[in-house]
């Protein structure tokens, strides 16, 4: 045990001396953690510029324009009667959405007819579309609901009855854990788990390429040393980055610890295996970095795993992030308990066993003993 601790310390000293590994292991996780959340800090797009094509120019159509402008999601920057001009502004990206109010809008509503308003929004960016469409359609539907309730009241219905007639089966909904469906809370925590995985893989593979660990104990000691640094990063993320960016923090100590340990064990196993695959220290970074984006998609963070074809899920299964990202997000963001993420934890443990088995497969036990003894002898001479 003492010899193993010496090996771990020796590896930590080597990491400090290796500027390339120190950059990946010590600096990159901090830089990414500060840079990645930055664009998503506002969580939602607000005050998106929109246009109103008012072909009615009545008091009611102007009221609809004002109601849209009052919405937090959008800001009316264009009011016109020219549909072509408005559509051109939308195509050119000057506005994110358009609400088209037809001629005779007010007259038809007063006559009790149903009027259709047109809504076009930029569908090339989903968050923009969602916000612009929500802001504009809510204004139109609120105006319609108010008009209808007043009409029913004028026919002798009480307000409660009028509302019940309009919506006989109402739904009260509540979004849990991320009430505003903020994009930062949704995507960044998962990305930070991926940052930890990728930097640990690159660092272990780089160390392996610089100086091959030839015994089991050295391989395990190296992985332990580098994982310790990442365990510190995980603590730093939870104690500094989460409060700094106001991410929900519902994780309890035990589930968080178990998820982190299994995640680091699995990533360290894969990294140790990769450490035997590269012969030049600069290569792991060059090859592993471009894999980050597809690995993120494979984790099911932005597109649920249940929607993926089976063969893709099979392909994604051995990657630690496939199980660590959902486990970490459920535990830290949602407050899930250990049994609630049991499936992910079992999969993480299985991938850890798989990668460690492969990494240690061809390293003999005797060689491990020899290496350890040689190291102790070296230390005692030194």
């Amino acid at each position: 045990m003492k010899a193993f601790a010496h090996l771990v310390l020796h590896e930590l000293r080597s990491v400090v001396r290796d500027r390339g590994v120190l950059l990946v292991l010590g600096i990159a996780p901090l830089l990414y953690a500060l840079v990645y959340p930055l664009p998503y800090k506002p969580q939602l797009a607000r005050e998106l510029p929109v246009g109103i094509v008012d072909l009615d120019r009545s008091p009611l159509s102007r009221q609809l324009g004002r109601m849209a402008d009052a919405s937090e999601a959008v800001r009316v920057v264009l009011r016109t009667q020219d549909l072509h001009e408005a559509e051109r502004a939308l195509r050119n990206g000057a506005v994110a959405g358009l609400l088209s109010i037809p001629a005779h809008f007010e007259r038809d509503i007063r006559l009790g007819r149903s009027v259709q308003v047109g809504l076009v929004a930029d569908g090339t960016r989903f968050l923009v579309y969602s916000q612009a469409a929500t802001g504009l359609s809510q204004a139109a539907l609120t105006l319609g609901a108010g008009t209808e309730i007043r009409r029913l009241q004028s026919r002798g219905f009480g307000e409660r009855e009028a509302r019940a007639l309009r919506d006989p089966l109402p739904l009260q909904s509540q979004s849990l854990w991320n009430p505003a469906a903020g994009y930062g809370d949704f995507v960044v925590p998962g990305v930070l788990v991926l940052v930890l995985q990728q930097t640990l893989l690159i660092a272990l593979a780089t160390r392996g390429a610089s100086k091959r660990a030839r015994t089991r104990s050295r391989i395990v000691a190296r992985a332990t040393a580098l994982s310790l640094i990442h365990a510190l990063h995980t603590m730093l993320y939870l104690l500094v980055i989460w409060p700094l960016f106001d991410f929900p923090s519902r994780g309890r100590f035990l589930p968080l610890t178990v998820v982190t340990l299994l995640f680091l064990a699995s990533s360290a196993g894969l990294g140790s295996l990769l450490g035997r695959a590269f012969s030049r220290p600069e290569t792991p970074m060059q090859v592993l970095l471009p894999t980050s984006l597809p690995i993120l998609f494979l984790s099911g963070l932005s597109w649920p795993a249940s929607q993926m074809p089976t063969w893709i899920r099979v392909l994604a299964w051995p990657l630690p992030s496939t199980h660590a990202i959902p486990a970490f997000v459920r535990v830290q963001q949602v407050g899930a308990s250990l049994p609630e993420v049991g499936g992910h934890l079992a999969a993480l443990a299985a991938t850890a066993a798989l990668w460690w088995g492969l990494a240690l497969l061809r390293v003999g036990r005797r060689a491990g003993g020899r290496g350890q003894r040689a190291y102790i002898a070296h230390r005692s001479v030194g």
């Binding site: 500027r19 990946v24 990159a28 830089l31 990414y32 840079v35 930055l38 998503y40 800090k41 506002p42 939602l44 797009a45 998106l48 939308l90 195509r91 050119n92 509503i109 149903s114 259709q116 308003v117 809504l119 076009v120 929004a121 569908g123 923009v128 579309y129 359609s137 509302r163 019940a164 007639l165 919506d167 006989p168 089966l169 109402p170 739904l171 009260q172 909904s173 509540q174 849990l176 854990w177 991320n178 505003a180 469906a181 809370d185 995507v187 220290p281 600069e282 970074m285 060059q286 090859v287 970095l289 471009p290 894999t291 980050s292 998609f297 932005s302 597109w303 074809p309 459920r330 949602v334």
Partner: protein
């Protein structure tokens, strides 16, 4: 390979073969995975948990309607809210819908009994779809059971421009493609240029190429940029055919020109990174730092104008940001040329300024033996 290698100063590139063998197919592999992964295009059969506290004909009819919706699947029906909450917390279901006791009786009396839905807000992709669909099913069932239900005075007909069915494959795979190529290409170029410095092989390289450092840089860069462009253009065509994006010849020309501009800008950055550090590892790490989070800053997942100032300024330095404006403008929104000019000029200007500075620095490093061999 002999004359070609000489013409493009590719001598000694044999050493890079193992890395090139990984880097060149990597973006292709990533693209194919992405296209297959998003094959359903829109979320379907999202599992929900139904807590039926009424057990009436109406509640059973609602359960059937929810299950019949293409977007939803009633995965669990029960009367235990605690179990449903556990499944929602574990991420096994996208939402829990609770139908109250007395639902049918109160609905028939016109008392508008309120059902409740708890939706997993942590998953934004499924959140909106699940909530919208539950609301729609309750709305249509309500209209059926209340004959006096008046039509909405104002109905909204929504149309998404550029992506009519809000297809995730078009939204993510099409826009991710440049990021995949940018990441692999910048790293590749940093490697094939920076390695000559690290290995102290500059004199040998220039001797074999039979040319000076400036021309050697330009020739090698031209070769790899052209290769990446052909590969990227082919991938763009494959992705368009897969997703079902039809473009006019002029639009195709615009998309390919924009891709070339993106790669040229990446090449300029690669020169600057290698030229300023004269250190392959440092240049590679910085290229990774630039290209790794590029997609987050490109304005695809979060609009540029809504980003904090620092993030907005950083996004302006990243070539994919401007390329995405061009790609979406040309291929999806069919923007006017006047609207495409600003991102095109920004990309061209960045390429020019970064390229000149990077070229001069790199050329100087190649001529300075004290800069060789840094690790």
């Amino acid at each position: 390979m002999g004359p070609l290698a000489r013409a493009f100063a590719l001598e000694r590139s044999r050493r890079d073969r193992p890395v090139l063998a990984l880097l060149l197919p990597l973006p292709w592999l990533a693209l194919l995975i992405l296209l297959a992964l998003l094959g359903r295009k829109i979320p379907e059969d999202l599992p929900i948990d139904l807590v039926d506290l009424d057990g009436s004909a109406l509640s059973r009819s609602l359960a059937r309607s929810l299950d019949a919706s293409p977007s939803l699947r009633v995965a669990f029906v029960g009367s235990d809210p605690a179990s449903a909450a556990r499944r929602l917390r574990a991420g096994e279901v996208a939402a829990v819908v609770a139908l109250p006791r007395g639902l049918e009786r109160d609905a028939s009396r016109g008392l508008a009994p309120a059902s409740r839905a708890w939706v997993d807000g942590q998953n934004v992709t499924t959140h909106n779809t699940a909530l919208k669909e539950v609301r729609r099913v309750l709305g249509t069932t309500g209209a059926r059971i209340e004959p006096r239900n008046p039509p909405d005075p104002v109905a909204v007909q929504a149309r998404p421009l550029g992506n009519p069915s809000l297809d995730y494959q078009l939204y993510l795979a099409w826009t991710c493609l440049p990021s995949l190529w940018q990441a692999a290409f910048m790293v590749l170029l940093v490697r094939v240029l920076g390695r000559e410095l690290r290995e102290r092989s500059v004199p040998d390289w220039l001797h074999r190429a039979g040319t000076g450092p400036g021309r050697a840089i330009l020739s090698r860069t031209l070769f790899w940029t052209t290769a990446a462009w052909i590969s990227g253009a082919l991938a763009t065509a494959v992705a368009a055919a897969w997703i079902g994006i039809g473009l006019s010849p002029a639009a195709w020309a615009g998309v390919f020109a924009s891709l070339l501009l993106l790669l040229a800008c990446d090449a300029a950055y690669a020169w600057l990174l290698v030229g300023s550090s004269a250190n392959l590892r440092m240049a590679g790490s910085t290229a990774g730092f630039l290209t790794g989070p590029a997609f987050a800053f490109a304005g695809v997942s979060f609009p540029l104008d809504s980003m904090p100032r620092a993030a907005f300024l950083w996004a302006q330095l990243i070539p994919t940001t401007h390329h995405f404006s061009l790609l979406a403008g040309i291929s999806l929104r069919h923007a006017d040329a006047s609207a495409l000019l600003p991102p095109a000029l920004t990309l061209a200007g960045t390429t020019l300024v970064t390229g000149v500075v990077g070229f001069l620095l790199l050329r100087k490093r190649l001529l300075t033996p004290s800069c060789w061999g840094r690790r």
